[in-house]
């Protein structure tokens, strides 16, 4: 009988060892972390073919989820792409490595104004590389709305009850309400936040759904007349069908920039730099633009942009409209906690 036991044990150990070895870690790899729908996935395999570096690609839908997944430490990401206020937080926490951009050939194609933009949270331009930028606004189906859409009013006055989609992303959702009320979207005033909460709570019964990446497809599919989306989503929909339009509400909205950074876990910084530089190469930057339809900081992409694109608020908003927009900054911890608990209350309602 003892023989049977040892036999069984050996077999189990063997099997465990076998399955462990069968999937050995490839030496030369790069773990990339990005938002969903935010890259042309074929460029990843192109990068692998050109450099022999294997890419492990992971996604998260919102900045908060991206941050949590990164911080949990379950996966050691090498490079990640997220929004300005999250990058600010990561820089402050010492999570990002300094990068020397000077020897990266294609990176020089990024317009100076975008480096200027990122200096607000990365004063010496040594941590992050701009990737795409845009705004938050209303995507709507012209055949389903009446009158002009020019204000956040349409999603708060009940006119389109059950027919619009709100963002399932905490800061974006509160940004719409705060802007509608005429407050800063970076407010730390509890009274203002609670007022926004009241507004969102009373709005909830009219909301068709809270979505992030799916919102665009729901509007295209005709399941909702309008949705709060990022600008690129709106331009994508517009290119699918010219019945769709994008509005930057007159009360102002959020202006954002998403950038790549190299994390402190990254062991092979050269590989990471190769990847970032690759993303700025003319053909690759264009392929990514074609896939996601956000405004690119890469000059060669904007040079190839169609007239239509340059005329659109989604790609190229006018300076007057941009002047009303506000960039998120990382909120102090007690405000973040308050916001999280309000958001939870809203979702559970």
């Amino acid at each position: 009988m003892n023989k049977t036991i040892t036999g069984a044990m050996i077999l189990i150990c063997l099997l465990a060892a076998l399955t462990g070895c069968a999937k050995g870690e490839p030496e030369n790899s790069l773990t990339v972390f990005n938002y969903g729908l935010y890259i042309d996935e074929s460029v990843l395999s192109q990068f692998e073919d050109e450099t022999g570096i294997r890419i492990k690609y992971e996604e998260a839908p919102t900045p908060e989820e991206l941050y949590t997944k990164y911080k949990s430490g379950a996966i050691k990401y090498d490079v990640l792409c997220t929004s300005e206020y999250m990058l600010q937080r990561l820089i402050n926490e010492g999570e990002l490595k300094e990068i020397d951009f000077s020897d990266m050939q294609n990176v020089s194609d990024i317009g100076e104004e975008y480096w200027e933009f990122t200096r607000s949270f990365d004063p010496e331009n040594k941590y992050v590389m701009p990737y795409f930028w845009g705004t938050v606004g209303l995507l709507y189906d012209k055949t389903k709305v009446h009158g002009d859409i020019s204000s956040w009013d349409v999603i708060f006055n009940g006119e389109y009850a059950g027919d619009f989609i709100m963002p399932n992303s905490m800061r974006d959702a509160y940004a719409t309400a705060l802007k509608y009320l005429g407050y800063s979207l970076n407010t730390t005033d509890e009274g203002e936040l609670r007022e926004a909460q009241e507004l969102l709570l009373s709005q909830k019964k009219d909301v068709s759904a809270y979505l992030v990446d799916e919102a665009r497809d729901e509007v295209i599919a005709g399941n909702a007349a309008m949705a709060v989306v990022y600008s690129g989503e709106a331009y994508y929909a517009y290119e699918e069908n010219h019945d769709f339009a994008y509005c930057l509400p007159e009360e102002g909205t959020n202006l954002w920039i998403d950038c790549w950074g190299v994390t402190r876990h990254c062991e092979n910084v050269e590989n990471a730099k190769k990847f970032l530089d690759f993303l700025c190469r003319e053909d690759i930057a264009w392929a990514n633009y074609e896939e996601v339809k956000y405004a690119s900081p890469v000059k060669s992409v904007m040079a190839r942009m169609s007239e239509e694109g340059l005329a659109s608020d989604a790609i190229n908003p006018s300076p007057e409209k941009l002047a009303k927009c506000e960039v998120f900054i990382q909120l102090p911890e007690e405000t973040t906690d308050l916001l999280s608990s309000l958001w939870k209350e809203l979702k559970a309602q």
């Binding site: 919102t62 949590t68 068709s208 759904a209 999280s340």
Partner: protein, 272 residues
């Protein structure tokens, strides 16, 4: 100690390593505050309005889902029996087949059916019936849950009803019992073991699922599973998430002890 019971060694090692230790870890997290001190706050957090609301909705959804599954399954199993489709694995076969299509895809198909501009509303429109707006609602979630777990209920009821001897029913009929009486006096009592295991297999997952509510609820409806998932994946409060998980686990275990069959190994078969 019987020598043969040593054979359980690898298994006991395994459950210690991968069931008991992880449970201890989650309990440890549950009783720790974010700065590392001991606290019962994460456990008590279940009784705040936000969490109670999600918990009540989850319990309600699970109870409704279980009841609907029971009500749909009995007639189905009886019909299969009546038509003599039993014995062979035909009925089982037809029930588990859909389970081979990934359940998230099946939920997605439901979303396509139920959405505002979906297949159901198209059909209703063709038939000139009034629109039934259930996309992203509680009803949609319950339809999804029933769809997910109905096969488990049917299978476990089928297993126990299939074993009932025809002679028993014949005898009852000869003694003058009508169909209803046969059902309530013979079939129902004899199917209790299957019913109980069916309840466990339907109630537990429907109470705790978060995918169904994510896909069919449009982010508007939150089950307790969604709240826990958000604590872990979005707000990054693992301690609170663990606290809620522990309460959920205790709640499920308590409600299941009422239904769990007392599993006693008959004494004469104890040699093996």
């Amino acid at each position: 100690m019987n020598k043969r019971s040593l054979l359980a060694g690898p298994y006991i090692l395994w459950i210690t390593g991968f069931t008991v230790i992880p449970l201890c870890i989650i309990i440890k997290y549950a009783f720790t505050s974010r700065d590392g001190g001991f606290t019962a706050e994460n456990i008590l957090a279940m009784f705040t309005p936000v969490h109670l609301k999600a918990m009540t909705f989850s319990t309600l959804a699970a109870v409704i889902c279980t009841l609907i599954c029971i009500l749909l399954s009995y007639p189905l199993v009886m019909a299969i029996r009546r038509l003599g489709l039993r014995g062979g694995s035909f009925s089982v076969f037809i029930l588990i087949l859909p389970m081979w299509v990934n359940f998230i895809l099946r939920l997605l198909a439901w979303q396509m059916i139920l959405s505002n501009n979906g297949i159901l509303s198209m059909i209703l429109e063709r038939l000139r019936l009034p629109a039934w707006d259930i996309s992203n609602s509680k009803t949609a979630i319950i339809i999804g849950l029933v769809y997910d777990y109905l096969p488990y209920m049917v299978l476990s009821l089928h297993n126990s009803i299939d074993e009932i001897e025809d002679d028993l029913i014949e005898a009852a009929r000869d003694l003058g019992a009508n169909g209803l009486r046969i059902f309530f006096r013979i079939i129902l009592p004899l199917s209790v073991p299957g019913l109980l295991s069916g309840i466990v297999m339907v109630f537990v997952p429907s109470m705790t699922s978060f995918v169904t509510a994510n896909v069919l609820g449009g982010g508007k409806q939150q089950l307790i599973g969604n709240v826990i998932e958000e604590e872990f994946m979005v707000t990054m409060n693992w301690n609170l998430g663990s606290g809620l998980s522990v309460i959920l686990m205790v709640f499920v275990l308590i409600s299941m002890t009422f239904t769990a069959r007392n599993d006693d190994p008959g004494s004469e078969s104890k040699v093996w």
